[in-house]
């Protein structure tokens, strides 16, 4: 395990269902300002900027045109990846490892909740234009099919999946940045209407607007900038096939591959013992358990562990203490950075009411989209 690169500053906006008074550039600016203040740096100190963006969600082609001014990266090294923010984060990590930059800003934002009026139609365009798109419909049906396979291939029950919603929305009540906290019971969730059977309406993360900026620094710099660096000890990313006909239905093979890589780098051999906190992008409740399985977090039944309260805030392995996407809202390409920010806050001991005592090692998982099996896994430690 090497401690070569650390998070030295972070800033995020509130995650809300509507931000009609702010342009996406204003969201980025406020997140960037908080990150610089947090690290005690100015834009002048930054060598490079890494962002991520999806054109169709921004409603602008080449949306990275609009980031440098807000992050203060004008006339600097800039790169953008069209993947989840965890992959942008991993790219920034590699940029520092390569020696080309010492301090890198990673930016991600979502403005889908306010700006995109035809979200299902846009998401449908992500499917293959020849084989899949003509089938039409709201593409969340793909997640419904995936959940069906998951239920069939595991011993998890629908009640247990409903419990994920109860837990995450409950955690979100303690998170001032989360917009979708609620006190629910398993019955409430199961009684909500079938949306994409077997997915219930309350098991779907609602869309949200959000922006976050994270500052990374190389070892020596990090130590001089902050007394409380959060080290990046393992990274991995992977993709599954884009032919949904050939998918490993019901499982997240990409998380298995990505986490294997990340664990190896971080020297983690027994994840269930060594990891203290996990954050997962779950656009749908079942995806949290699916991801936990792929993360090899436990050899036993995840559903039972969930019912025993293992993954609660006061459990032995809290999962999604921030509230996850169910509690904070689904912020398509920015979900990964939201997860990373929460892990960093937990490891720094700055998570407020939802603080997990003595968190040393955390894992964040971000996926490219709710129906795309591609994304990244990041291991952070104190």
């Amino acid at each position: 395990m090497t401690k070569a690169v650390a998070i030295v500053g972070l800033g995020q906006t509130e995650s809300r269902a509507l931000t009609p008074t702010q342009d996406f550039r204003e969201l980025i600016y406020s997140a960037a300002k908080k990150a610089y203040d947090d690290a005690g740096l100015t834009p002048r100190d930054v060598d490079a900027l890494l962002t991520n963006e999806y054109d169709f969600y921004a409603g602008i082609s080449i949306a990275d045109e609009y980031t440098p001014d807000q992050v203060g990266a004008r006339l600097k090294f800039d790169n953008l990846v069209c993947n989840d923010a965890t992959i942008a984060f991993i790219n920034a990590y590699m940029l520092i490892l390569s020696g080309a930059a010492d301090i890198v800003a990673v930016e991600s934002n979502s403005k889908v909740a306010t700006d995109v009026v035809n979200y299902p139609e846009v998401l449908l365009a992500a499917l293959d234009p020849v084989y899949n798109r003509p089938l039409g419909g709201h593409p969340y049906y793909i997640a419904g099919m995936d959940m069906m396979s998951y239920l069939e291939n595991s011993d998890t029950t629908e009640e247990q999946i409903a419990r994920v919603v109860v837990k995450n929305k409950g955690n979100a009540l303690l998170n001032p940045n989360a917009g979708f906290g609620a006190k629910l019971t398993v019955e409430d969730v199961l009684r909500s209407e079938d949306a994409f059977w077997p997915i219930k309406l309350l098991e779907i993360a609602p869309l949200a607007d959000y922006a976050a900026v994270v500052l990374l620094a190389a070892e020596e710099k990090a130590k001089s900038i902050t007394d409380n660096p959060v080290w990046i000890t393992g990274v991995g990313h992977a993709t599954d096939s884009s032919y949904i006909e050939c998918w490993p239905w019901g499982e997240a093979q990409w998380i298995r591959n990505a986490s294997q890589e990340a664990y190896k780098m971080a020297g983690i051999s027994e994840p269930w013992k060594e990891i203290n906190v996990v954050e997962i992008s779950e656009a749908f409740a079942y995806q949290e358990l699916q991801a936990l399985e792929a993360l090899r977090i436990s050899s036993g039944s995840l559903g039972n562990l969930l019912e025993m309260g293992t993954f609660d805030l006061d459990g032995s392995l809290p999962v999604n203490p921030s509230g996850g996407c169910l509690g904070m809202g689904y912020t398509p390409q920015a979900t990964g950075l939201q997860r990373i920010v929460e892990i960093a806050l937990q490891l720094r001991g700055e998570a407020g009411k939802r603080q997990i005592p003595e968190a040393e090692v955390g894992v964040a998982v971000g996926s490219d989209s709710e129906i795309i099996k591609c994304g990244g896994v990041v291991v952070l430690s104190r």
């Binding site: 002048r44 100190d45 054109d55 082609s61 001014d69 390569s98 080309a100 998401l123 993709t239 884009s242």
Partner: protein
Amino acid sequence: MAFENMVRFPKGFSRKKRVAIVGAGMTDFRSILPHTTRELCFEASKRALDSCGLTPRDVKAVIGASAPDAFDGIHIKGWNPVDAMGAVGKPYAREFVGGGTGVGCIVNGWYYVASGLYDIVLVCAFEKMSPPVPHAQKLFLTIFEPILEWALGPNLVWIFAQEMNRYMTTWGVKKETIALSAVKNKGNAMDHPHAQLPMKITVEDVLNSPILVWPVNRLDISPSSDGAAAVVLASEDVAKRITDTPVWIDGVGMCIDSQYWTNRDLAFPYYVYYASQQAYRMAGISDPMKEIDVWEPYDPFDYKELHHLDGLMGKKGYAPKLLAEGQLARDGDYPSCPSGGLQGVGNPIAAAGTMKVCEIYWQLSNQAGKRQVDDAKIGIAQAWGDLMQVATVVVCRT
């Protein structure tokens, strides 16, 4: 220079691993190809891997690259061809900085390898611009600022006409001189097996072609194209096992300027200048004019070749003089766009930039055939994009 004090070049560069290009391949560039995005990627990736005797099994990570999703009409389109690139189960990222993507993805691949995490990386850039009907140009409206600029109905020819006019006015360049770039590049493309628009034309042909937006005539512009290009990158120890003629990426640079292009002086591309300075510093090049043997600046318009060369050479308004003297020809002192560039080979946006890196690889490893520049040891490829805003540069050495 006005912005000099605003810029902090990456310092403390310590090269952990040297990165080599070990193979390259591309598809034909055509205005309409019958292939799907996946098929284009398969063909380019296969050619690149075959050229160095590797299989997808050997590749540790894959980088896809493509410009706006709107061209293919596929949302998150980087994910669509992952199978065709052999990326399934592997780390995959899609690079995207507008027109700069084609060289930017090589920078991306460079740090994947230079970080020490992956030793063989496949980079595949693709673009399918034929789906939009009647023409891809209309989609460029969507790159502009939605509140302040969309309402004016701009397209790319419109803003480049402004930039070209500014360039000509500031440095006193004549249209006759600029047209020489189109003549040279379309002529160079005669020797390129994948070229879309190889032509023997004269300056008169360019000046007499229809005016689109003054001062841009039809033959001043590169075409829109379908195509893909791929490159295989490897770390130092692995590269030497794969090939006898690795070409080393010794310097990389990327630089983005402000979104507010109306507030910038368009006469000199500072972003190109700074990106190339980053790359020179990394590669240990102190006098690019003397040390660089072959140049591949991005030339979607004929004046852009000169505009970008000014930035790469760090000399304002200098390239037109070199062009007029014939110095930019393949047998000149500063051979520029020996491939035929975007004007001759075609402009499938992301793939066009990667084509330039392929060309530098072929030139430096002596595989460029009829296009070969004598005694090429150091080459530079550059792409440019976003709102006339971003530059990406790689400097290669034999």
